[in-house]
Amino acid sequence: MPINAGTKTSRSSSNRAKPRSAPVRPDAGASEMQRMTVESPETLLGYYSQMVLIRSFEQRAAEMYTRAKIGGYCHLNLGEEATVVGLMAALEPRDYLFTTYREHGYALCRGIDSGRVMAELFGKSTGVSGGWGGSMHLFDTEARLLGGYGIVGGQIPPATGAALAIAYRSEPGPDAEAVMCLMGDGTTNIGAFHESLNLASIWHLPIVYVVINNGLGMGTTVQAASGEPELYKRGCSYRIPGVRVDGDDVVAVRDAAREALESARVDRQPRLLEAVSARLRGHSVVDPARYRSAQDVERAQELDPVANLRSKLLGEGVMDPTMAADVEAEAEAEVARAVAFAEGSPLPPVSELFAHSYATPVPNCPGNLPGESPFGSSLASSIAGAGK
């Protein structure tokens, strides 16, 4: 199947003339305004509220990180809010989501309580993963968020296998389940991506691979790292149709994702969707991103999807300044509650260190702390200390 055939979101023909330039968004132009006027004000306001919530959450997460409330690595969705909200608006509750370490916004949009997300960042027992995962490893069975994954590309084979399980158990159709597997631009260079797309293609799996192209993998640009920098084309070896969408246009992202998911569930045709967005800050909270030019940073700020949607909604009369202030105040209040919940939650007790060693318990696996006998406390006294 030819790439881009019959897809309304891909308007990337102008990119082809400059194959190694920075990722270019398909030009939405007037059509975006037309689309926005057909969306109900409630829908648009809902998307905007979610984007503002993510923005507030991430800014507070950065602050909590610098105050050492959050440890380890902490990667933010700042600048990707429209992509996050658009994708999650398309994903049905029955669908499964596999994502990366840059994932707080997805967890929030899947309906997981922001307090439980913040508590996980704080390493508290009330966190979504009980304090075992941290920022990179959010998980919630009910929300069908089957993990953030910290190994680049590591989520792609299991996501493909989840789609295999769906195909194993159920028939295709509009009500079928599907899998959405997220990754960054840099991740399309890893072997697991290519092996998995091939498997999904030959096995006709209900999965949509989404590349969030923020232009950078840490400090490496897409153009520098990718033989084919138009990443949506990278499915062509596997006959997986690819589409590029403007990741700062929440409705365009939603529609493209819906269309791809529909194809996955009804036709069992895996899809590749590339959302072009920008990273507003460093790779993670601690990265000052000195490798970025002033123009690049300026451009990212100009494209800020939260600020831009705000002025559009104000301009269109969907929202007035009071409403805008209310949305922001509500988000701030929710995040403040999330921080308070995380602060007030207990750390997991050391007695739970071996609670998740195995799903099926086994003998001879007592669990010993550093300095303790591997025989476990009961055996230790009878064996290790016994003189001849």
Partner: protein
């Protein structure tokens, strides 16, 4: 042993047949069990363990894959997360290295790292072992890489009965289990209990009782140890053989109980000596039976070279019965052991 309700009825069969029959029985028992791997369908498996199963169960239950170890091992993880029970065949353990990220960073981590919210009930079956003149890349015993990893279970049956019992237990287990088979064992025969037969994961077996020295072995080397035990019996030396069966979790108490009885121990493994299974067993004995020991614990392991192709070099590099006999004698001599049984320690 729990679940081991078989009567006394047994059938003699090969290790290969026991694996095949168990896969078939488990697929008949549970619709969520399916097989996935390279050449397991039309080709019937590189070592013919899955012969006839594609014909009987169809391509949905017996899924041939392209040569994409990372891809299909990872796909099995995802399928297991959604509640299926995939049984992966990796042609040989050597190729597991292409999938090691999925095995170590994903299968082993997902249950704990996500706070116990989800299980990964999958099995990876794969043969290891040298001695087949397959050269350096196709002859390794690298199960210890996986035995090192919390979150995984690693079992290595040495008999057709345990091949059946451990495979059935592994399939019904809700954790990722690596079942290490051995090229040299596929054609060996033994008595296999009929009907339901489960071998509990995490329990070693005393394969032969003895009183003078304990030989700890697993997989292919258990046969060597039993042969040596029979041979030395004629000289009045009584060898106890412990078959580890499970490398993770390791049954430390059975090993130490045996050594406390015999007071001497030798470990034999096909793996390389440094950082091997034997090293862990020796450390275990030192911690758990130090005051019972009459001699230093010795290891018999492969020479530390990439395994050569030529028969003369390959045979020299791999441990065999002669090496084991020599080390057992040295262990006994070290304490002035006399075959008559009087000990002058």
């Amino acid at each position: 042993m729990p679940g081991n309700e078989a009567g006394s009825a047994v059938t003699e069969m090969t290790y290969r047949q026991a694996l095949h029959d168990t896969l078939r029985a488990e697929m008949l028992r549970d619709e969520s069990v399916f097989l996935i791997g390279e050449e397991i369908g039309i080709f019937e498996g590189s070592y013919k363990i899955t012969a006839g199963l594609l014909e009987e169960f169809g391509p949905r239950r017996v899924r041939d894959t392209p040569i994409s170890e990372e891809g299909f091992v990872g796909a099995a993880i995802g399928a297991a997360m959604l509640g299926l029970r995939p049984v992966v065949e990796l042609m040989t353990i050597n190729f597991s290295l292409l999938a090691i990220d999925q095995i170590v960073n994903h299968a082993a981590k997902i249950h704990a790292m996500f706070g116990g919210q989800i299980a990964v009930p999958m099995v990876i079956r794969t043969p290891g072992g040298g001695g087949q003149q397959l050269g350096a890349t196709h002859s390794q015993n690298i199960e210890v890489y996986y035995a090192h990893i919390p979150g995984l279970k690693v079992v290595a049956p040495s008999t057709p009965a345990d091949a059946k019992g451990l495979l059935a237990s592994a399939i019904r287990d809700s954790d990722p289990v690596l079942l290490v088979e051995n090229l040299a064992l596929y054609n060996t025969k033994g008595q296999v209990p009929e009907g339901e037969h489960l071998t509990e994961i995490g329990r070693a077996a005393v394969a032969r009782e003895g009183s003078d020295v304990t030989v700890v072995a697993y997989s292919h080397t258990v046969g060597i140890a039993l042969d040596v035990a029979t041979r030395l019996q004629a000289e009045g030396i009584s060898v106890e053989v412990v078959d580890l069966r499970s490398l993770r979790p390791l049954d430390r108490s059975t090993v130490c109980a045996s050594v406390r009885k015999t007071t001497r121990a030798v470990v034999i493994e096909d793996d390389w000596l440094s950082y091997g299974v034997g090293a862990e067993v020796v450390a275990t004995i030192q911690e758990g039976a130090f005051y019972s020991l009459d001699a230093p614990v010795r290891r018999v392991a492969a020479a530390e070279v990439p395994l050569p192709y030529s028969k003369s070099l390959e045979s020299a590099a791999l441990p065999d019965a002669r090496d084991l006999v020599k080390v057992i004698r040295e262990t006994l001599d070290a304490t002035g052991f006399a075959a008559s049984g009087d000990r002058c320690a």
